[in-house]
């Protein structure tokens, strides 16, 4: 039993968000106060995560440091929190990526208080989701994490997307309600809340079993850009210009993916597991579809979105494989992947900002005048598409081998999607570096500031070390 360390992961950002919310409404000081609060909060959280890591047994795959709390008596519900190496890795990468975001975010963003408060609220709730050890707290954090998301998308999203946002919210709400019904059915069968790893042991018969599990999976799918519902999430995500909000949007699929990872391997009953090929086919169709669309799309942000989606679906496909040995590989790979996507998102925002500032029509060749940005973008795009410098390379190699082992056609389709999406990103990189299409004669002073450059280089060092030893930061 740990002493409220896990609860701290939820409470520290929530307290930070209250501080940010109550910051003085003074144009000169409030913005900087709010940013400082968020950076300190995230630093404290990262420190706590590293401390929790040091207390964990890295060879134990079960939930550790479990904390129990009594919640309500009528009906009787107890809440449990717990972590394993996989969930801690995800939490660390998410918190680190927001820290990177805070350090590299422009301080002239509109409505900073709303942005930072919602962001910290989101981090607290998403941390709660990753450490939830029972089905009810899992549900609570799953749904709750959608609220700050809604505020952020509503505040920073495109006005043209308002109808899409409503459809997306209702679609998510359907998932949430189905999950609620499934989870209450699970809890009612045991007359109390049940732990996540015990969910598969429940004895449901026939139709009820199908209803419960399909409801759970639908809820997770509602957070993933899966065909034929991929349009809403892609439309919203690609319209988000603020990199921090884009980062939040980019973590929506992670929530769905994490749900599948928690419920599918070992937990799901055999009668449901036999239907895994259906999910695999849907994943592959979506991967291919989005990868091909990204090739024809001109917006680099959409290409980044396509890249993230294809990789999320790669991880999801590996979750459906009839093996549970890939969980840690997915964790290691996700750790690098989330950081890479964060940095790419901020670099793209920097380029877009400079383009807007200088009044340039196109971004072709712009990197020729921004050497630091050019180096960072090239390195991170190459790392993202498989340059052997991060843990993404090794672990994706293992994951894809397992997919090939399982089914050759599936493996080929996955490879094809990854290839196409990599091509789309590299093509964009080429355009940005191509001096012949440069529309800006001279972009002076538009390069990355020292702090940002240093942060991105530090990220590269972190990723490089993870290539040799994924858990190098644990002592």
């Amino acid at each position: 039993m740990s002493m409220y360390q896990l609860l701290g992961l939820v409470l520290i950002p929530l307290i930070g968000s209250i501080f940010a919310l109550t910051a003085r409404d003074d144009k000169n000081y409030a913005t900087s106060n709010v940013y400082n609060v968020s950076i300190l909060t995230l630093l404290a959280n990262v420190g706590l995560i590293l401390y929790i890591f040091s207390q964990c047994n890295l060879h134990d795959n079960n939930l550790q440091l479990v904390e129990h709390f009594k919640w309500i008596d009528y009906p009787e519900v107890d809440i449990s929190l717990g972590v394993d190496v996989f969930s801690l890795l995800i939490i660390l990468s998410v918190n680190l990526s927001f820290l990177i975001g805070e350090l590299c975010l422009s301080r002239h963003t509109e409505r900073s208080k709303t942005l930072i408060t919602s962001e910290l609220l989101f981090i607290g709730l998403v941390n709660g989701y990753f450490i939830a050890a029972d089905v009810l707290s899992f549900y609570i954090f799953f749904v709750a994490s959608g609220m700050p998301l809604m505020i952020l998308i509503s505040t920073y999203g495109s006005q043209r997307k308002k109808t899409v946002l409503i459809r997306f919210s209702i679609y998510n709400l359907i998932g949430a309600l189905l999950l609620l019904v499934a989870i209450v059915m699970m809890c009612d069968s045991e007359e109390n809340n049940i732990l996540l790893n015990e969910a598969g042991k429940l004895n449901f018969k026939g139709g009820t079993e199908y209803f419960v599990w399909l409801s759970i999976f639908f809820a997770f799918i509602s957070r993933l850009p899966i065909w034929p519902f991929h349009y809403w999430i892609s439309s919203i995500n690609s319209s988000l210009k603020n990199p921090l909000v884009f980062l939040v949007g980019n973590l929506i699929p992670l929530i769905g993916l994490y749900g599948f990872i928690r419920f599918w391997p070992n937990t799901v009953p055999q009668s449901i597991a036999v239907h895994a090929p259906i999910f695999e086919i849907i994943c592959i169709i979506t991967m291919l579809f989005i990868a091909l669309v990204s090739l024809s799309h001109k917006d680099i942000r959409y290409k980044l979105f396509a890249y993230t989606t294809v990789y999320y679906l790669l991880y999801l496909t590996s979750v459906f494989l009839p093996t549970d040995v890939l969980k840690l590989n997915i964790g290691y790979s996700l750790f690098s992947y989330i950081i890479i996507v964060t940095v790419l998102s901020f670099l793209i925002s920097h380029i877009e900002y400079q383009k807007k500032k200088l009044g340039i029509y196109g971004t072709g060749g712009i990197l020729c005048y921004m050497p630091r940005t050019s180096k960072c973008l090239s390195l991170f795009i190459l790392a993202g598409v498989g340059l052997p410098v991060t843990s993404l390379f090794w672990n994706n190699f293992i994951i894809i081998s397992e997919i090939f082992n399982y089914n050759l056609v599936l493996g080929i389709m996955v490879m094809l999607s990854i290839f196409v999406v990599a091509l789309a990103l590299l093509e964009e990189l080429y355009k940005l570096k191509d001096k012949s299409s440069a529309s800006a004669a001279c972009v002076l002073g538009g390069d990355l500031p020292n702090l940002h450059f240093f942060v991105y280089l530090s990220c590269l060092v972190i990723l490089f070390l993870s290539f040799f030893k994924p858990l190098w930061f644990v002592f």
Binding site: D73, Y74, R111, Q159, I166, S169, L173, V184, D188
Partner: protein
């Protein structure tokens, strides 16, 4: 002996003194709304103090019985009324009115509510119902030349018919029992007497006025007018306090009087409940006035309360109470936001008036968002507790179709809430809002804290409430 009776009447007597005090101040021509509000609040607190002190005593045990259950509802209502009266003073100040009539009517209504909740005899119940109906009619009549008073006339017309139905039910039971119309005697009658249609109809005649007062379908003829056409403080009263009082009495009636008829009444309740759920969700989407949207939203949520009551079990009754409690807390949050929606001294109530609210009023919009999310039942807000209880009880009883209908129409209702959010966040600003009143902001903040924090550690609060609530189940 007489002194004892007088002593136990102090909760009601305090309110009567409050009314006299207000009237006296009016005669002295005081013209500050805040003074009248302070007086009304003071006597309300005195009344609550005596209600706690004499919680199990009644000035007339033959007609009225007080216990922990009545105290629970009295405290909830008193707490809400205290906030409402405070906010009403800001409304009346803005309109340059004293609001004396309003405060007198609110205190009169609270007397009626106190008595209604503690009624243990059908005569007393009928009397209190008529008293409340009349005060409600007068409340609806407060128009200050801005709103038509046809709503009040229409209300009186329909209410008169409902009272006649109530009186007919009472008359039949009275003649059947030779004047002994205490709840315990009537319960014995329903339990032991051979089943007959007139007896059943007389029970229905007592139930209908409550369904009507709660605005449940298909008796919702006037429900929309009550919250949609009155001035804001009146609308606030009809949205929160009146339903809470009627639910308190209705739950008590179900447990103490109609339980022997549960087999016959259960399907009727379920039919009305599902109808309310459907009408509520559809109606909310068809309205553009915020008060009316919330009126239909209440119909939906009250439908769920009714379906939980239809099981006539102590645990579902408590689940219904929890649902009602959390809904009222969330609804209070929305109404507090309405007091902030003011442009050029005029209070706004249409959805379009929220356009671009988030641009200038981030906190107010946030508070509105929190209460709307709580209506949907999103965790970790207090509304989730009610939803969890309701879903759990319906699943335990294998009411899958009813649950499916409730959840489906929740999605439709959510569309109405999302439209409000969309307007506040996405639309361009079209109004210049007046500066916010500090007391309104404080109440709004307090309400948001309640909506958020109760869900975090509800067990102590709910344990106390369950102990108080279960008195009626014993």
């Amino acid at each position: 002996m007489i002194w004892e009776h007088i002593r136990y009447a102090l909760p009601e007597a305090s309110l009567i003194i409050g009314i006299l005090h207000l009237f006296f101040m009016y005669l002295l021509s005081y013209d500050s709304a805040k003074i009248y509000a302070r007086i009304a609040r003071f006597w309300l607190l005195v009344s609550l103090f005596w209600a706690v002190a004499w919680q199990e005593k009644s000035f007339s045990p033959l007609y009225f019985t007080n216990d922990a259950y009545t105290l629970l509802f009295n405290l909830c209502i008193g707490f809400l009324a205290y906030i409402m009266i405070g906010l009403a003073s800001t409304w009346f100040s803005t309109e340059n009115k004293t609001g004396c009539k309003y405060y007198i009517l609110i205190l009169s209504s609270l007397i009626g509510i106190n008595l209604l909740l503690s009624s243990s005899n059908l005569v007393a119940l009928l009397f209190c119902y008529i008293l409340l109906t009349y005060t409600h009619y007068r409340l609806l009549g407060i128009s200050y030349e801005k709103l038509p008073s046809e709503a009040a006339s229409r209300y009186m017309g329909v209410s008169a018919m409902v009272v006649i139905i109530f009186a007919a039910g009472f008359g039949y039971l009275n003649s059947y029992e030779d004047g002994n119309v205490e709840f315990t005697a009537l319960r014995e009658l329903f339990l032991n007497a051979p089943q007959s249609l007139p007896l059943y109809l007389s029970a229905v005649a007592i139930i209908i006025p409550f369904l009507y007062s709660l605005g449940l379908a298909p008796f919702h003829i006037i429900a929309e007018d009550k919250t949609g056409k009155g001035i804001l403080p009146v609308s606030h009263y009809f949205a929160l306090i009146a339903p809470l009082a009627f639910w308190g009495c209705f739950i008590k009636l179900n447990v103490e009087l109609f339980k022997p008829l549960s087999a016959e009444l259960s399907p009727v309740y379920q039919g009305f409940a599902l109808l309310s759920v459907i009408f509520g969700a559809m109606g909310a989407n068809a309205r553009i006035n915020l008060h009316r949207i919330l009126s239909y939203s209440s119909m939906y949520h009250f439908g769920i309360v009714l379906i939980l009551l239809s099981f006539f079990k102590s645990e579902t009754n408590f689940a219904a109470f929890v649902y009602l409690f959390v809904y009222i807390i969330s609804l209070n949050g929305s109404y507090l936001v309405f007091y902030s929606l003011k442009s050029h001294g005029e209070y706004l109530s249409s959805v379009t008036s929220l356009s671009g609210l988030a641009e200038t009023r981030a906190y107010t919009t946030g508070a509105l968002l929190v209460s709307l999310f709580s209506f949907i039942g999103l965790p970790p807000l207090v509304g989730f507790l009610g939803q969890l209880n309701a879903v759990s009880e319906l699943l335990k009883r294998e009411y899958y179709i009813s649950l499916g209908i409730i959840l489906f129409f929740l999605l439709i209702l959510s569309k109405a809430y999302l439209d409000i959010i969309k307007t506040a966040y996405f639309e361009h600003k079209i109004k210049i809002y007046d500066s916010e009143n500090k007391s309104v902001m404080m109440y709004t903040l307090f309400s948001v804290i309640c909506i958020v924090l109760i869900a975090f550690n509800p067990q102590d609060l709910f344990a106390i409430m369950k102990d108080m609530f279960d008195v009626v189940n014993l």
